[in-house]
C-alpha cells in the first residue's frame, strides 16, 4: 500500500485486483479425492460386514448341538449276550451300542419295539455317534450293565437341523430328510423336556467323522497348534538372527544386496510352491512322515521367514543411529550394542511382524494340501509326527460335504479360525503398546 502511494501520490488508492491462485480448482480436486477415499473405505466396510454377517448367521448354530436326555437301559443281552465280559473285555468295546440308544429313545416315545418300520425311523432319529458315548460309560464302569440311568444322547444331524429350523417343511415329505413322524416325535420329546441344546464342545474336540454331529475341529486345532509352535521355534530365531546379522554386522556389498533382493522375492513366492518344496525336500528326500504337522510346520516356517526378516530389518532400521553411536562411543562392542540397546528398542516391531507372519501361516492352506495334510484323521495327534489336519484345511474339506449340518459346521469353523486370527492380532497390538518406548 505504501509502495503504491509512493508511486502514484495523486491517484486514489486502487484495490489490487484479486490474483487467481486457482483456489477453486484446488478445492475441487481435494473434494474429489476425499470423496474417493471415503467411498473406498465404505465399500471395504460393506464387504467386511457382508462377509462377517454371512459367516456368523450361517455358523453360529454350529456351536450348539441338539441332545436327547432319556433313561437308558444298559441291557446285558445286547451288550454281552454270552456273559463273557469277565474273560473277554473286548465284547464291551464291540457291543451294539446304537441299538441300546435306539431302544432308550423308542421307550421314551412309546414306540412298539416290534414295529420294525417305526424302530428303523427311531434308529435314524438318534446319532450313530452315541456308540462312543455309551461305550465310554460301560468300559469305565462295567457295573452299569443291567441297570437303567439317564444319559444325554446326540440327536442325528438331520434331527439337529430340524430342531434348529433349518429344514424346509414346505417340501413334500418324501423329498425331505426328516419324516413327519420324526417331527412329531421331536415335538413329543420337547414336551417331555428331553430335548436340550447345550454348547457343542464336540465341535472343538472331535476328530474327523463322516457324521456331522460327531465331527469336529479337535484334530485340526491340534495340528494347527503344533505347526504354529514349530513355526515360532524355527522362523523367529532364524529370522531375527538373520536380520540382525544382515542389518548390524554384514558389510553392505553386492552379495548382501543380492541376498536382500532374494529375501524380498521369497516373500512374494506363491505358497503352493513352498508346498512343492516341502513335498520334495522334507517328505521325499528326508523321509519325514506325510500329513504330519512337523512337515507342515517346516514348510510354513520357510514361508514365514521372509516376512519375519523383512519386519525385523525394518524394526532394526527404525532404531535411531544415535543410540548406536552412544553405545559404541562408550566402548560397547557391536554385540553389546545390538543386544543391550538396539534389540530391546526393535522388539515391538519384531513381535508385530512375527505375529502377522504367524497369522498368515495359520490361515495358509495350499502348501498343506500338497504335503498330505488334507486327510481323514479321526484320532488326535499325540506328537507332531502323527497325522493331523489344519484349521483352514478342515474348512476346505467340510466345504466339500453335502449335508446341511456340514454347512453350518463349515461356517462355525470359519468363525473359530477368525477368532484365533483376531486374538493373534490383538496380541500383536497389546505387545506393541506394552513394549513401545519413546526416545
Amino acid at each position: 500500500m505504501t509502495d503504491a502511494a509512493m508511486d502514484a501520490p495523486a491517484a486514489t488508492p486502487v484495490p489490487a485486483p484479486r490474483r487467481d491462485f486457482g483456489l477453486k480448482r484446488r478445492h475441487r480436486a481435494e473434494a474429489i479425492f476425499r470423496f474417493f477415499g471415503v467411498a473406498a473405505i465404505t465399500i471395504g466396510l460393506v464387504f467386511l460386514v457382508i462377509l462377517l454377517w454371512s459367516v456368523v448367521s450361517k455358523g453360529y448354530t454350529a456351536f450348539v448341538q441338539t441332545s436327547i436326555t432319556v433313561p437308558v437301559e444298559f441291557t446285558a443281552e445286547i451288550i454281552d449276550r454270552n456273559g463273557e465280559r469277565a474273560t473277554n473285555p473286548r465284547v464291551l468295546v464291540s457291543a451294539n451300542y446304537p441299538v441300546i440308544a435306539r431302544n432308550a429313545v423308542a421307550r421314551a416315545l412309546g414306540v412298539d419295539p416290534d414295529d420294525k418300520a417305526a424302530m428303523r425311523e427311531v434308529g435314524k432319529f438318534v446319532s450313530d455317534g452315541n456308540r462312543a458315548i455309551l461305550r465310554e460309560i460301560v468300559t469305565k464302569d462295567p457295573s452299569v450293565i443291567g441297570t437303567t440311568r439317564p444319559v444325554t444322547l446326540l440327536a442325528s444331524a438331520d434331527i439337529d437341523s430340524a430342531n434348529k429350523g433349518q429344514i424346509d417343511l414346505g417340501v413334500p415329505e418324501k423329498n425331505r430328510k426328516v419324516s413327519d413322524q420324526q417331527l412329531r416325535w421331536l415335538d413329543q420329546l420337547k414336551d417331555q423336556g428331553a430335548i436340550s441344546t447345550p454348547f457343542n464342545w464336540g465341535l472343538l474336540t472331535f476328530g474327523a467323522s463322516s457324521r456331522p454331529e460327531t465331527s469336529g475341529l479337535g484334530v485340526a486345532l491340534m495340528g494347527s497348534a503344533y505347526m504354529m509352535l514349530i513355526v515360532l521355534c524355527i522362523a523367529l530365531p532364524v529370522g531375527v538372527a538373520a536380520s540382525i546379522y544382515l542389518e548390524e554386522f554384514a558389510k553392505k556389498n553386492r552379495f548382501t544386496d543380492f541376498i536382500e533382493v532374494n529375501i524380498n522375492n521369497l516373500a512374494a513366492v506363491p505358497s503352493i510352491v513352498f508346498g512343492l518344496l516341502g513335498l520334495a525336500v522334507f517328505i521325499n528326500f528326508f523321509g519325514l512322515p506325510r500329513s504330519a504337522p512337523i512337515v507342515g510346520g517346516l514348510v510354513l516356517s520357510l514361508m514365514t521367514l521372509p516376512t519375519i526378516i523383512i519386519a525385523t530389518r525394518a524394526a532394526l532400521r527404525s532404531v535411531p543411529p544415535s543410540i548406536r553411536s552412544a553405545a559404541l562411543g562408550i566402548g560397547a562392542s557391536r554385540m553389546q550394542m545390538v543386544f543391550d540397546h538396539v534389540l530391546p528398542l526393535a522388539t515391538p516391531g519384531i513381535l508385530t511382524g512375527t505375529i502377522i507372519g504367524l497369522a498368515r501361516a495359520l490361515g495358509e492352506t495350499a502348501p498343506l494340501l500338497l504335503i498330505g495334510m488334507v486327510a481323514f484323521v479321526a484320532d488326535s495327534p499325540s506328537s507332531p509326527f502323527d497325522p493331523a489336519t489344519a484349521l483352514p484345511v478342515q474348512i476346505y474339506m467340510w466345504t466339500n460335504e453335502a449335508e446341511r449340518a456340514f454347512v453350518e459346521r463349515t461356517s462355525g469353523a470359519v468363525i473359530v479360525l477368525l477368532v484365533f486370527l483376531a486374538l493373534m492380532n490383538l496380541l500383536a497390538i497389546v505387545l506393541r503398546r506394552r513394549f513401545e518406548r519413546r526416545w
Partner: protein, 268 residues
Amino acid sequence: MSLDTAPAAATSPARTTRPKMTGRKVCVFYGDKQALFDVDLEITANQVTSLIGPSGCGKSTFLRSLNRMNDTIDGCRVTGRISLDDVDIYDPSIDVVELRARVGMVFQKPNPFPKSIYENVAYGPRIHGIVKSKADMDELVHSCLRRAGLWNEVKDRLNEPGTGLSGGQQQRLCIARAIATRPEVLLMDEPCSALDPIATAVIEELIDELRENFTIVIVTHSMQQAARVSQKTAFFHLGKLIEEGRTEDIFTNPRNKQTQDYITGRIG
C-alpha cells in the same frame, strides 16, 4: 601391543604440555572423496582443544577419527598416524572397545539410552567391569552425576527414564555417562548446538572443571565458545588444518588470512 603401557597418573610437572594424542599426516576418505588432508595436530593433556571452522571443513571427521568412530561408516578410510600416548590407535592389534573406553565421546544431539538415569551412567562401567559391587557402582554413578552437575536435579528420580529430562539435562547425563568409564580423553562434537544459552553456560562451566582430570577435544561452531572454554584452538578449512595455536593467539593475532577472515565473520 597394549594401550595399558601408558603412564597412568598425570602428576609430573610437565603435564600441561605433554601431548596426549598426536595426529601425523592424517587423511580421511569417504569412498573416493577425501575429507581430510594431511592434518598434523597435537592434543595436549589436561587442556581443552577446540576445533573450529565452517561446516564441512572436516573438524568433526578429525574428532571422530580420534576414537575410531569413523570405523562405523561404510567406505571410510583413514591414513597417516594417530597415536594415544605414543601408541598408534589404528594399529591392527588395537581393540576399538578398549580405545573407546579410554577416549570417550559426547555427541552433538543428546542421546541418552531409553533407560533409567542410573542405568545410563552405569552401563559403561558395567560392560567394562570397572566396579565390582553394587555399592561401588552406586558410588560411581552418584559421583559421575555430581561431577556432571546433574546430581541435585535427578537424585530423587534415578529410576526414571533419561529421555524424560530436558535437553540440557540430557546432555549433562551424556557427559556423566561418558566420564563414568573413566576415559583419559573426552571428545565433544558440538555438545551445545542443541541447547539454549543457559544450558550452554552450565555445560561450558562443566567442561572447564573436567579439564582437571580429562583431556578434552571439542568441536564447536561458536567462536565465543571456543574462546571461552579452550586453551588451544585449531582452525580447519576445506579439510585442511589452516592454523593451530594457543587460543588467545588465534583469536587476537591470527597468522593466517583465512583464519582472520573466519573469526571476523567474513567466511564460513
